[in-house]
């Protein structure tokens, strides 16, 4: 029995708590890191973090990247940020690491 958490800066993450997800509102990145570390020690299985925060704390994301719990998943902000998202970038990095070449997964889609 593991819980799910969501971390975000906007009030909108409250909507997720309707579905039984624990919402944590954070102000800045140091607070976000603290919350993530706390949730990780509390056996949270999945933590959703909004893109704008994820982009500021790549080290913390990397720390939990290869352990099964917690799984940190970036989700889009209320107002989508411009440019490539962290999620697509991290996918590209993983693909590059695995295949050794920079192939775009999206282009090969039919």
């Amino acid at each position: 029995m593991h819980r799910i958490g969501i971390i975000g800066t906007s009030d909108n993450i409250k909507a997720f708590s309707m579905c039984g997800i624990d919402a944590f509102l954070v102000e800045d990145k140091s607070e976000a890191i603290k919350v993530i570390d706390r949730l990780a020690s509390q056996k949270f299985a999945i933590i959703f973090v909004t893109e704008s925060i994820v982009k500021q704390i790549p080290e913390t994301i990397l720390k939990y990247k290869h352990s099964i719990t917690p799984t940190i998943t970036p989700i889009p902000d209320q107002i989508p940020v411009q440019g490539p998202s962290f999620a697509s970038e991290s996918l590209a990095i993983d693909v590059k690491k695995a295949t050794g070449s920079d192939i775009s997964i999206n282009d090969t889609e039919d």
């Binding site: 593991h2 997720f16 579905c19 999945i46 290869h66 099964i68 989508p80 999620a87 996918l91 999206n106």
Partner: protein
């Protein structure tokens, strides 16, 4: 040409031959593992990329509905509704095994479904809230699947990287070294044999 630092004796030669066999077998197995992992990885990566595009659209849509629900209703009422319709949700983690690599799979446990029994005042809240609850419910199960896929990808990519290095080390370093050393010892032993014969025939 790199010859290992060992004595050129028959015993060492036999040992090395055994090790060469093991290394070759290991190389073949690891290569198969790498290929298998790679196939699974690309499959998962494609799926996750597609899934993410779709889910990001869904989240934006749900956020929009939730925002709309706040337009006609006071924020306090919406907050109350959100707290009222809170449901219990937990996930169970089991691991599945892909070529000896443990990857997580999550399964959702819901105590009761908030989209089916609405527990806030229908007269005071807008229909957009009902909509958004349905949408978020849908999104959560998709997001959990997405998390599973993305975690699988990051674990697999690490494992593929490691396996590839092992394969390369065996192929380009360890196996050639063994081969060279075996050749060196064979030549040395032959040389000893010949010099022994020459010495004996001279003594005669």
């Amino acid at each position: 040409m790199a010859v290992l630092d060992i004595n050129p004796t028959r015993m060492e030669l036999n040992k090395l031959k055994d090790r060469l066999l093991t290394a070759r077998r290991g190389h073949k197995l690891l290569k198969d593992k790498r290929d298998g992992l790679m196939r699974k990885f690309l499959e998962t990566a494609k799926k996750a990329a597609k899934f993410r595009i779709q889910i990001e659209k869904d989240i934006l849509n749900a956020n929009l509905q939730f925002e709309l629900s706040k337009v006609n209703t006071s924020p306090q009422l919406v907050n109350t509704a959100v707290i009222m319709s809170r449901q219990d949700l937990t996930v169970d983690i089991s691991t599945s095994n892909i070529m000896g690599v443990c990857t997580p799979s999550f399964s959702i446990n819901k105590r009761h479904n908030s989209s089916e029994n609405i527990s806030y005042s229908l007269s005071q809240n807008s229909a957009h809230l009902d909509n958004s609850i349905h949408l978020y419910d849908d999104i959560i199960s998709k997001l959990i699947t997405l998390s599973e896929l993305e975690k699988t990808i990051s674990i697999l990519s690490d494992e593929i990287n490691q396996t590839r290095r092992k394969v390369n080390a065996l192929e380009h370093l360890i196996i050639p070294n063994y081969q060279d050393t075996i050749r060196f010892i064979t030549l040395k032993l032959d040389e000893n044999e010949r010099s022994n014969i020459a010495r004996l025939s001279r003594a005669k």
